[in-house]
Subunit: 439 residues, 4 copies
């Protein structure tokens, strides 16, 4: 029990440093594939702590990244990152949106444990209300339209705290630890490219967490498992038609507006599935150039979801068929591009129950239920499924914390005790999985 | 002028016989491709008058007929025709829907004049109101759902009257007369198959008429030309999907109802054409088998129209593209079959003006305008276009008559003076075109 | 245990008589509100057994019946019932579709137990395959388009068997038994009108069953409870527009085809519900009179469903709003009529567990699970919810039986051991609920 | 003929000045209701010439203006106009988009002749191709997104030339001349507000023109009349719904995307009209805020047209009904605002023929036809109809000119001989209408 106590003590000692780090990340919020400053700082710290560090092309498979901005935008963001104090050495590898970092700690023979920390902000304009703490205290986002409104600033900070503590107790561990700092979780765009690079091969245990509101369980610190997140696919769609004068020659065009409207109604009309919940949404549609011109182009942002991957695939395939035929029906063509995707995710019950014992023994308070329903979508699912398919165990636990507003809200903030709690939870779990007598 | 007077006198003398014949045709009304009794009577009379007569396979090209019923129905109609007094000899050639007859009168060297008389009834249930003359006098249709509500009983009768009179004046004619008794004009299904058989080849002059209400011109007998009938295409459409239980497995089917509804809205939304009037109609839709079953089949009757053939083709091609893609969109297949078609039609102005002079000289009263707008669709257009394309002249004149109700109304009837007027108009015209001094 | 043994013995002794009765009901299958012969026979038998019997206006609330045919059809069915041997006395009350019967047995002070037996056939044409037993043995349905393809012939027969046995053991019971022979369960049209009449008021225990295939549990006789049937509403819909000539005056009509197509797509596009499964189906659509006529009338059969009553109400209200606006959009009007409805249903777990003990004690084999998922919809839900809302307990148990084909299949048949099993299950349950020492 | 010669001579003498003025207007192109600089220059010149001048509130009825920008934008444009050299005195009245000017010349008793000159640019980005003359010579538009791509810079210049010449010959005129410099013709937004102010009351003759390509008639200078412009109505539409999370609570919103898509398809499906050409277009649609959010707002730009005002009204009323019901169907609301409108227009044949004689006598070459089909829409129609309804005569003549590209093209330019030709045509016409011996 000595090591557990040591972990707890150190986590608490790290709190002031972590608070500062979290607020720095918060202030310089960077959206998916733009986390160039964030990545450079993480890579610098991991290196200083003595980790073997991967960055750039070694982290994400370039072509498996989804929803990446165009080169001009990426270049502009690179300059911004440098201007905002990115580490001059480590920022280089991130050029072109090759963000994310992995720190590896090898402690001899033994199982491999991977921990995932997502690091990106999202496309929200942060509140400037007087009672929004980040604004009141001056560490609100300086990057317009980018905000850590989902707590990934905290996740990244916890990851660095974990790195510090594990390095301190490394002689008590047998096996390998991989700390995966993942870019572009928002829009579920990044995890797949890390899996594609092979980083989950040979992983025996995989852990990830998300800061989660504690309204339902005000006195609990953690729920050890999760289930039933929705599998999802995100597409950008463009219908190409031909313009013509709407008064003189309405027949002369190929009306992309008609293709798009037909698509919207028919997408929404995809038959429900007897096997479980499905979703479809056309969230955005921008079509046409002027009132008296036959519309020649229509852009849509859509997403499909399903209670499991099979259900999502049903909706996705049906949706693509609708897009193709709605276009062809009106003599238009259609292009669509996968902008993000996640599979469904279910924690291994045995791993969740093992963590329950470890954490109860450490004095933490857990929810009664082992597995919270996840809701929404998480691309950590790709990593979990990769590990589970090769016989490993994975869980997505929920670190319960007081929130100032719901996730994705422009007034989002969290009680920073989350930072030390996160470190305590990950490190006690890793210690249990890799301590000398384990396995 | 002697011959003209003779024509007029004879036409008037024929009136009682024509009235009887018209009422017989009216009573035994036969819809398109079912005109077996009607055809047999016409062929018998033409033969008795001394015409060279074509029937059966020699009239319509079998495969170019459109909208033909199935064999079982045709067999049943054949039996009905015999039971209703068809000529035993001539009815045989009509078996299987090979109806229609052509009478040829050869008068030596000279131009060829073809006259068209359509003979079919349509799918209307005749009125049994006390003040509907055919019912009041006992000669209303005995064939349920078949009624001469468009005056083709009169057209056929006029054709027989013309046959009689022309035979009587044949020594004053030089050239050839073809009397074409066309089946299946309703639904514009028959004329194309007569053209396909080559009967319009070498025709120098082609005349046809339709009995037309005289409300606008109460004192006029005829308008010598017509223009602007709509080109049209008629299709029967079947969407094939797959049924499934709507509660348990809505995803298990291929919903033909969705394909059909998408088709209806998009057909109606075919862009208007800058070049002139177009039309589209889904007149009938029958889909699905039960409330709680995913619809596996949907049947539609549609038609397209255009102010000219090119405009109709625009709508038709667009419509077929919609049908294909509406089906594919929902995993269904679609079959469609052309059930009828007509081209646009415009009389030759010079022929109309020539007839004006002939008829004014004969003492008939004409409308001020040479060319009435036709409205609707007429498959006589195939014959006119065939003649006009090879350098001949054609006109579709309007014989103006008092009507009891509009065409296709179940209370339709016409003032039978139309019969003698029709004979007068056709015969004086033919005489002018073929008299010794002509051409 | 003596009484239980007596029940079992008597149920087995009744088997030959029940088999004959079931086959009689099967042969003279009567669809909902047409069960005039069936009702008269049941009423006759209950009377002869000594039950207090309710029929006609005393069973169903006349105006709360759903999906009743028109008077002419009902009169024709009444004549048919008489011609097929209906009881001359008891058939009279059923005139006009007032079918169904209730038998009451009063045994002094004590709880009231109600049992429900549904008695109607459905709209299926029975198989005449040589290996379809009813046909092979000559007791297939003589009423075209009506078939006991859901086992209600068995349910009604079990009800009569139960009536006989309970009367025999009445001195061992304290309280009241109501045997409710319900009409028009198919299409979920009848139960609500029995509840509306007040027959479930004061009922302490309510039991019903359905013959259910035993493929999953080949050796089990019964599952004591059910959950999660779908709440549902069934509507017939008519859009009224105005016809016009599609070529000449497409603007002159009010196109009911457009209203219907818009309704179909938008109904299917009703947003999914975050709270659970929903369904919508347009199962049938018949619209329009002819290819070249603007459609003036469109008839649809639709149904909505939801995992619970609230979810179904969400879909239903949304659907009605769509119908109204789809009509108004095209200058049409719409009428819709509720043709059937069911609520969701969940057995009381404590009652299901009590029956498990009773039936295990009687030596019957039960499924491991207490509550089977119901699937589909059942209007017994109205009765269950009425009883549960007033503090009583209700269950819908499944009597497992070998079936020859799935429910609603034209080759449906069941192993007739179901008949004695049904009697054993109901009577042992009633005895437990009303035996002297109960409550 | 002396006066006519004088007009011709003076028009030619004015050419250099007019070319300079036209290029100034072209360079400082101002879109509808932004013509503050243009108006101030026109008012200054008319005043200097001795005209009675109306500006500001005295020209357009404030509330009858259509498609006016918001106040902030108008203020910004006002500042721009001043910065670009607007006349300091006359610009003041234009503040807030009260643009346009009227010059009145009173010459005693006699008829009133009104001439219309439209002055606005349109929303096109001007070409910067080397061979686009305005760019090559440095007088292309300096206002981004505003370009005189329809020749109104020329129209305004012609108006000033006419003002000069008529003043010079005023002693030969009897009656009143009104020179109406109309704002916001593009989008058909301005004319109605001038009519509403009463300026067409008592007008006996109304003339307007448009520079028109002379490809069809390379050697002609003018066509004296026009017919068959399309009546039109332009609407901006906003659907208001409610957002919700598309994954968690798709039922929680009111989906404005569905309302908009339903509207698009049904608008396009408005039945064609048997009475003549109609048009409908949804030219622009912007809907939704994000991929995973139920769309809460959708903005559309639509327009309807008809071969005459009645036909346009048919489409317009049908369209508004669709908008209302598409919104209500999905629990949304809709707002729409008329942004522009024009009626159909037909020149008085007798006036056109009178001008033909005048112009032929003056030695100008006219097209063979008196009345060109207008195509497109023109809000001069409001003025013409106002005059015609009170018994006056009006014509919209076409001044034929060599164009470098079609109207509304970013490379549009015209042969500046148009300027002197315009002056010649208007002034000879006015002289004929008001010369001492007239009327």
């Amino acid at each position: 029990m000595q090591i557990t106590e040591k972990i707890i003590t150190q986590a608490e000692a790290l709190q002031p440093e972590m608070v500062a780090q979290r607020r720095d990340f918060h202030k310089y919020a960077e959206s998916g594939w733009f986390e160039m400053r964030t990545t450079s700082i993480i890579a610098r710290k991991l290196t200083e702590l003595g980790y073997e560090v991967l960055t750039g092309e070694d982290v994400c498979d370039r072509d498996a990244r989804m929803g990446v901005a165009d080169d001009a935008t990426l270049d502009k963001q690179y300059e911004r990152a440098i201007a905002q104090g990115a580490d001059p050495e480590f920022v280089q590898a991130t050029r072109g949106g090759m963000t994310g970092a992995i720190g590896i700690l090898r402690c001899g023979e033994g199982p491999t444990v991977a921990l995932r920390f997502d690091i990106d902000a999202l496309g929200v304009i942060e509140s400037q209300d007087a009672d929004h703490r980040p604004f009141a205290e001056g560490w609100n986002s300086v990057n317009p339209g980018m905000m850590h409104a989902c707590g990934h600033d905290g996740h990244a900070t916890v990851g660095l705290g974990v790195a510090k503590v594990l390095m301190d107790i490394k002689e008590h561990l047998r096996g390998t630890v991989k700390l995966i700092f993942q870019p572009a979780e928002e829009g579920v765009r990044g995890a797949k490219s890390i899996v594609a690079k092979g980083h989950l091969n040979g992983v025996d245990y995989l852990l990830g967490t998300h800061v989660t509101g504690n309204t339902k369980y005000p006195n609990c610190m953690v729920c050890p498992g999760a289930k039933d997140s929705l599998a999802t696919s995100k597409y950008d769609v463009i219908f190409h038609g031909k313009s013509a004068h709407a008064g003189g020659s309405p027949n002369g065009g190929n009306n992309a507006m008609l293709a798009a409207a037909t698509a919207v109604l028919n997408l929404q009309a995809i038959p429900r599935h007897g096997g479980g919940a499905t979703r479809i949404n056309v969230g955005k549609l921008v079509a046409g150039s002027g009132r008296n011109v036959i519309c020649d182009e229509a852009f849509m942002e859509i997403e499909t979801r399903g209670a499991n991957t099979e259900l999502n695939t049903y909706v996705e395939n049906y949706a693509l068929r609708i897009l193709e035929n709605a276009a062809a029906m009106h003599g238009c063509t259609v292009e669509y591009k996968l902008m993000g995707a996640a599979e469904s995710l279910t924690s291994d019950v045995s791993l969740a129950q093992r963590l329950r014992k470890v954490w109860e023994a450490a004095g933490f308070t857990l929810t009664e239920e082992d597995m919270m329903t996840a809701g929404g979508s998480e691309d950590f699912s790709y990593m979990m499924n990769a590990v589970q398919q090769q016989g490993g165990q994975a869980t997505f636990f929920r670190t319960l914390t007081k929130l100032s507003a719901g996730a994705h809200n422009r007034r989002f903030d969290f009680d920073e005790v989350f930072l030390q709690n996160g470190v305590k939870l990950f490190c006690t779990a890793v210690y249990d999985l890799l301590k000398t007598t384990t396995k």
